[in-house]
Symmetry: C2
């Protein structure tokens, strides 16, 4: 295991210390329980957006805390759900009196714990809505999931709902927006290599020197199929076609295309992937009008990529273009 870490058990704490030291203008970090909130929380009269999940997917979610995106993020141990007390404390810390939206990726532990935290928050008089993302078309059920996994759409929902909350839209509207984003988005990923969970010290799965896994989950959960390595054009087709077919995306649709790196894949390759995706979408009459290219929802040092397409309308486009100021995503501010 070759990583820039100290002790495995200190990794998340030290990462949080690094984030706190680097971005005091944007976020505040609370320890025991661990959560990250925007520096100016709570924002009075604004719906607060909260997400969370296992660590190891950085910048998601902690890197998306700040103006125009998340009010709070709860990082669990690596690839492990955060606990209800983290979520409850974060929810209370960012509640500005207009209610709190929990954006929850569909993993069994995340859902159970966020449900418990929401119940506890409600018992303290805080209005909470929860929306579950489940955009991964690769497999119906998975190692940690009943139903589809929540992946790339989560990042987009956090940005879009954050922008809507900044406009002071009410809780019901922001929650409905999250449901709409999830309903209109689809994703699929692949891996060239496994990653190593520090506490385990060995690869999560084995992949031959000439093999790749199509439909992988962000914790290395098995995908659809393992096969010999192919060209970028062939790989992107294997990801994009199921994504396009599933919604389905149709001729004339305008979409946001999100090409994500899994953590160990350099940007030069992501632009090659994007180039192939543009051709496939054009062949289907689907027009990419916005894009996001980079490593935003990662699996430690896994090499690979995922593709997310989100059908846009004027409102979503406007919310996407709105200013955002977080450690991991920033424009217009």
């Amino acid at each position: 295991m070759k990583k820039l870490i100290n002790k495995a058990e200190d990794l998340v704490k030290e990462e949080l210390q690094g984030i706190a030291a680097a971005h005091p203008d944007l976020v505040k970090v609370h320890y025991d329980p661990n959560y990250i909130i925007r520096a100016d929380a709570p924002v009075k009269g604004k719906v607060a957006t909260v997400s969370g999940g296992g660590s190891g997917h950085e910048p998601m979610h902690g890197g998306f805390v700040g103006f125009g995106m998340l009010d709070a993020a709860c990082p669990g141990a690596v690839f492990t759900s955060p606990t209800p007390d983290q979520m409850l404390e974060a929810t209370k810390a960012v509640n500005g009196g207009a209610g709190v939206l929990h954006i929850v990726k569909n993993y069994t532990g995340d859902i159970l714990n966020f449900e418990m935290a929401a119940d506890l928050a409600r018992s303290e008089g805080i209005e909470v809505e929860a929306v579950v993302t489940n955009d991964d078309v690769a497999v119906q059920d998975s190692l940690y999931t009943a139903g589809r996994r929540g992946v790339g759409v989560t990042v987009l929902a956090e940005k879009l709902c954050g922008a809507a909350a900044e406009e002071r839209r009410p809780l019901k509207a922001v929650a409905d927006l999250a449901r709409k984003v999830n309903a209109h988005g689809r994703s699929m990923g692949m891996a060239l290599t496994s990653c190593i969970v520090p506490a385990a010290g060995k690869p999560t799965f084995d992949l031959g020197d000439d093999e790749m896994e199509i439909g992988i989950g962000i914790h290395g959960e098995p995908g659809r199929t393992r096969m010999k390595l192919k060209t970028a054009a062939e790989i992107v087709a294997l990801l994009a076609q199921p994504v396009l077919d599933d919604l389905p995306f149709k001729t004339g649709d305008q979409v946001l295309a999100f090409v994500n790196g899994m953590g160990g894949t350099p940007l030069i390759e992501l632009y090659v992937v994007y180039n192939e995706l543009v051709k496939i979408c054009a062949g289907r009459g689907v027009k990419i009008t916005r894009n996001l290219i980079g490593s935003y929802i990662t699996s430690l040092e896994m090499a690979g990529t995922s593709i997310t397409l989100l059908r846009l309308d004027d409102d979503l486009t406007k919310l996407w273009d709105a200013p955002v100021k977080t450690p991991g995503l920033r424009w217009g501010a």
Copy 2:
């Protein structure tokens, strides 16, 4: 070799096609010769900043073209200097009548070719200044370099000079600023793994499963020493102490700390590195007042990190904070 590419010989062209498709609002791409210019080039009356170098270091340099940073970037083949005709054509394309600054990393091929391009541009009546960066303290001479290598400071110089050019400072002032940034900045890097140049198809160097290389160059050039893997705290000390000692940075100095990922290193590790760097700088009385954390000057999929410190003053801080709008670096716009 596991990469998301098609044919090795098409990699740079397809990457450029991806960049062109993704960012038409920010940049324009020219092929044969290959260069990237800002979408609104030439900007009349503004000094134009041009850089370039081998591909494989993305987002540097092409990802830094846009408002407030570079006017043009010339990408060579992977880890190979661009040619004088690329640099000449790019220089002519962005010349807005106020002169052109070439920001050149200290590699023998880059320097020779930029010198030739500058001479040719001058013979066509364009005022050109060139500044060479050589901030890497690891080794005195290297595989492709007489004198120190130019690395992380180059990214900072591009941002700072771009901001100065937007203020309509004259060519001499922008060139002097680049020299000042280089004089006040120092860097050193390390690798946990090699990378594979696609055309070669095998690792640039061999590193044992329990080894790392301290002082590595961005093309995998040998560094200071190869040793057994250590903790993040020890590794950061091995990088930061020579950097601090070299300038030297002194008690009371305010610095920009740039923690860079080499391409295959995930963000979670870079925050651990930053956390260690904060402690070491604090121990020396050096205050980090600005930071940049992410993979900005990469070596394909190499795993590792580099640390750059730049001594700041009020002018540099103001220029750093100025708006920038490029594919790879963006804030305030």
